[in-house]
Symmetry: C2
Subunit: 342 residues, 2 copies
């Protein structure tokens, strides 16, 4: 029944599985058109074996202690709960530089030496949407290979947080125990995405951490009055986003973190909200990729490329209405096909 290439992934020994995972993810990350067809076949074959992991998104600005936290959490889950943990990353800087600052194994030395941990750096190159697609698909490989928890981390800049929120079951924002950050996160519209806010490095200044906890809790109450279908402060109180403090460096509070995650998970599976969230995510993702594909095809179209520089200059110079230029360019893309048909 199964696609032959996924057998080692599903049933191999630990070492065989790892090699199969690396091979599968390399195929998914390839940009060669013939690889893309194979990758689609692989994905379709994998899908029946996916979906059982807890997909956990972790975001936070540089310096907040994400690596330390993920390492502490991963070791806790492997050693205390006998779980298999995969760590993936979306690094927006990798779309520019082609290099990746995130997810490299040297950052999480202890975790990367664990048999039951799998750490993969951020894919690099291309648009954020392209990088996110590769991570999203790699997540499916990890699930098929039997990993129980897939952590997807990202830095707290730009649109990458929205991408990670769009592919995980639970989205956590790490904060430093000072109030200024609060406003930045609210500004970027990230706070309202958070199912859980973690104030890390609480050991450095416990008082500041408690103040931040109170402040963020009251901000969340205001923000959550609208918008997030997984939160509800008024009717039924389905989930009230929590704010906890911990110290990843000292390993304090990691068990409490996991208790909150488990509570959220129970709410999600009991209420049907997990299915609904994943459905929303999958459809939103499909449309996001369609939009990206449409724009790409448009910009690649010879008639559009021929017209664009002049029209863009005329629009910028105020000699042509933007809507007229848009209609002309759209017509140019159509006409080519039309002319060929006629």
């Amino acid at each position: 029944m199964n696609h032959p290439s996924i057998d080692p992934l599903l049933h191999g020994s630990s070492a065989v599985r790892r090699r199969a995972m690396a091979k599968a993810i390399t195929l998914l990350e390839s940009t060669r058109p013939d690889h893309r067809a194979q990758a689609d076949e692989l994905l379709t074959a994998l899908l029946p074996h996916t979906g059982r992991a807890l997909r956990l998104g972790i975001s936070g600005v540089p310096g907040v202690g994400k690596s330390t936290f993920i390492e502490a959490l991963g070791l806790h889950l492997i050693r205390e709960h006998a779980l298999k943990v995969a760590v993936l990353a979306i690094d927006p800087s990798s779309t520019v530089s082609g290099g990746s600052i995130l997810g490299d194994k040297t950052r999480m030395e202890q975790l990367s030496n664990e048999q039951n941990a799998y750490i993969r750096p951020s894919p690099s190159g291309g648009t954020l949407g392209g990088v996110a697609e590769k991570t999203r698909e790699s997540m499916l490989v990890c699930e098929a290979a039997g990993y129980n928890v897939v952590i997807v981390e990202t830095v707290g800049v730009g649109q990458s947080e929205i991408a990670v929120h769009g592919m995980t079951d639970m989205f956590c924002v790490l904060q430093l125990p000072n109030a200024g950050d609060d406003l930045q996160a609210i500004k970027k519209g990230v706070m309202e995405l958070a199912d859980l806010v973690v104030i890390n490095k609480a050991d450095i200044d416990p008082h500041a951490a408690m103040r931040a906890q109170a402040q963020i809790t009251s901000s969340l109450r205001l923000l959550m009055l609208h918008g997030n279908p997984d939160h509800d402060w008024k009717a039924g109180l389905v989930w009230r986003p929590k704010v906890i403090t911990l110290s990843a460096l000292k390993g304090e509070g990691v068990d409490e973190f996991w208790a909150v995650v488990s509570e959220f998970r129970a709410m999600q599976t009991g209420s049907g909200r997990l299915t609904a969230r994943r459905e929303r995510q999958a459809l939103a993702w499909m449309w996001e990729r369609i939009d990206a594909g449409l724009k790409h095809a448009f910009r690649q179209h010879p008639q559009v490329q021929a017209l664009l520089p002049r029209l863009q200059a005329e629009v910028a110079g105020g000699r042509l209405a933007p809507s007229t230029a848009a209609r002309n360019l759209l017509a140019a893309q159509m006409d080519k096909a039309q002319a060929a048909i006629d």
Copy 2:
């Protein structure tokens, strides 16, 4: 030289101009395909006569007193500064209901009786992007007809504020003198768009208004550290968004408001930032319309319509990867044209 239809708009008597404006805007708002070609011709003919007005965006939640403020401002500009004032609106509810709550003349009874005022309600029907396009184009008609100030108002909900910010030279947010609103505006990412925040109804509770002024000023300082190319708190201090208090009902503070607007205008024209802002807006608008057109054509495509329901169900059910579905649908749209060519 001029397109014949725009002569009455440029040179007619006051009554003739008004009729020509109404006729031109009706043409621009028409959805008939043959009208669209005429509208594009009209727009291109109008463009050389546009761009001289000050385009002022006004936003604020229902109840903040926008109509009262705009009426007081309009009368002030007409009577004290001998300016001609046009008021347009973007009402997001009109995209759903087909009706318009904004911009009706009965709301601004005194202003609508002025010879030198022109008030046009929000266009209705279609998407927000479509409604915004019509308002943007109507603005050009008002400019060609010699209006010196074009006010575009919108309610403080949804994406309509971003649309108004994207077509005006200066964007003002009206606030009530209570602190809770503050966070809402920050959350929605509107505050960082504001060139000027106006705390209205200051007469009701002057103390609360002053507290709000201090609070919003400090919030703006944090928000403006990043992002808005027209603001700069660090290098050079090009424009530090201001927060003023006034009472539109009592007519107090309207002259101060206009003084700040004039100061901003002088900064913009002196520094070349007005040209840069309008260029950015025009290009962004062109791409926004292209994206909307691409999506529309995609959804209308027969092959896509034939495939979409099944693929969408499979993606939602987790049996097909979103990226695979996206690629199949994009290929379906291409294949049709391809098949016809072959």
